[in-house]
């Protein structure tokens, strides 16, 4: 894969950086929620789920509480379904205790246009009625197309639209790395 990769890729976060970002986000989530009792972490497949599990482990280290973790597939709620052939669905798993009256933290790898989060909010309202919904992302790369912002951000990464941000996580890709690809600004 590296042989045909463009030379203008550079790594912005390595495994240690990602680890620190996850721990800080976990601290911020617990601080804002005043504990971990009413929290539910829902990852958006596929890398959001891996991140949600990491945040849950970090919260367990801090508070000694196991936070329920789930996955929320947004495919069926996307606004660009008709622009591409029908896609295979990812797994949705809602923790057995549900999400009603809890604080749901949506977790995704990259926040870009905001359209995925819009779809996730719609999906969430069909599953239940949380007390509050927060958003945690590893990378915020800007260029929002909807009035959506993240509550917890691992790294703000100003990018141009010609660039591509790639998040790789050990669980999915075998390596922890965030890199920028494409034309330099």
């Amino acid at each position: 894969m590296d042989s045909d990769a463009p030379a203008r890729a550079h790594v912005v976060l390595d495994d240690a950086d990602i680890g620190r970002a996850v721990r800080r986000i976990a601290h911020e989530i617990v601080e804002k929620a005043r504990g971990a009792d009413s929290l539910v972490l829902l990852g958006i497949p596929t890398r959001g789920v891996a991140l949600a599990e990491r945040i849950a482990r970090a919260v367990a280290d801090i508070e000694g509480t196991d936070v329920p973790v789930g996955a929320l597939d947004i495919t069926l709620y996307r606004d660009d379904l008709r622009l591409r052939p029908a896609r295979a669905l990812e797994e949705t798993t809602i923790p057995p205790a549900g999400i009603d009256e809890r604080t749901v933290v949506l977790v995704d790898d990259v926040l870009f246009s905001g359209r995925s989060v819009r779809a996730a909010l719609d999906a969430l309202s069909d599953v239940g009625r949380p007390a509050a919904v927060r958003l945690a992302v590893l990378v915020d790369r800007g260029h929002r197309e909807l009035p959506i912002r993240a509550d917890y951000v691992g790294k703000n990464l100003p990018t141009s639209l010609a660039e591509d941000v790639r998040v790789e996580l050990t669980e999915v890709d075998g390596v922890d790395r965030v890199s920028i690809w494409g034309e330099p600004r």
Partner: protein, 313 residues
């Protein structure tokens, strides 16, 4: 995939995609809001030239759970009973903007004609044509087998299934043989010689005439309804004799391994191909087949209509 006309059109990857999609869509049934916005603004026409309860309702529920608009068109009480042709009916539906037509017809091949004649631009789903095929029934049967016997994932490699009864008039049998073979299962057809279709030796399955012999070592048995309405000749001497030789009862259930299940596409003739105590036993999965039918049909409609139309920019 633009149409679903035959189980033979599905490759192993296609079939697994439908089953995996159905597995995810099944979770919608457990939610408080049993609705997805995915097919909002799309129109699905149920075009039924033949009586059907569960298939039509199943497609209707599936389309509605995906937020599609559903138009039910039954030939009885429509212009078809005044002599309108399939072509004119199709052109009418096309003018009304149908994105998909789910068709059941008494003539084998009618869905194929509808899909290939250029009368309509939407997708065609075969919901049973004559004695030919019924692919969504085969998909829901495969889904049910996979859930019970393979933990709900992967293919059906090595699974041993017998399909028993009126094979001659059964579209379910043909679709099941084709799909189960694609998924890797070994299928045996068991029927009286008079109810075996011509040319069955070319089908990718084994055949047998003795049910007791076939039951040993099976993972599942699929009982077919004796389709008296299609029988214009004496195919077997009496109901009692048919039932004795080809019906499943408690004795025959005991001949199968403990884990084996009994399927039936419905509607059942209790006392004919299946005894009441078997039909009501825990190993009979008919009610679950109906529920799985909705999930599988949601998957088919999503995969046909949920994305970009083929050929459009």
């Amino acid at each position: 995939m633009r149409h679903l006309l035959s189980a033979a059109d599905l490759s192993l990857d296609d079939a697994l995609l439908v089953l995996d999609t159905a597995t995810e869509l099944a979770t919608v049934t457990d939610r408080s809001v049993k609705k997805l916005p995915t097919l909002r603004g799309r129109t699905v026409v149920n075009l039924f030239f033949e009586d059907s309860t569960r298939t039509r309702i199943s497609f209707e529920v599936a389309a509605k759970r995906l937020s599609a608009d559903v138009i039910n068109f039954a030939a009885k009480g429509s212009s078809v009973s005044k002599g309108e042709s399939l072509k004119d009916t199709a052109l009418t539906l096309e003018a009304m903007g149908a994105d998909a037509v789910v068709v059941r017809h008494h003539a084998s091949g009618a869905p194929h004609r509808l899909a290939t004649a250029g009368w309509i631009g939407g997708s065609v789903v075969n919901a049973g044509d004559g004695t030919h095929e019924h692919p969504t029934q085969a998909l829901l049967d495969a889904y049910t087998l996979r859930r019970h016997l393979r933990g709900g994932s992967g293919d059906l490699a090595g699974l041993r299934v017998a399909i028993v009864g009126d094979i001659l008039h059964s579209r379910v049998a043909r679709s099941n043989v084709l799909l189960l073979r694609t998924l890797g299962a070994e299928v045996t057809l068991v029927a009286p010689p008079t109810l075996m279709p011509f040319g069955v030796e070319t089908w990718p399955c084994a055949t047998g005439f003795d049910l007791d012999d076939a039951l040993d070592g099976l993972d599942a048995v699929m009982m077919l309804r004796v389709q008296a309405e299609r029988m214009h000749a004496a195919y077997f001497p009496s109901t009692a004799e048919y039932s004795r030789r080809y019906g499943i009862d408690a004795r025959r259930l005991a001949l199968m391994p403990e884990h084996a299940i009994v399927l039936h596409p419905g509607p059942m003739n209790r006392g004919m191909e299946i005894s009441a105590d078997v039909a009501d036993s825990e190993r009979a999965v008919m009610v679950e087949q109906v529920a799985n039918g909705v999930s599988v049909r949601m998957a088919v409609l999503y995969l046909l209509l949920g994305g970009q139309k083929e050929g459009s920019p």
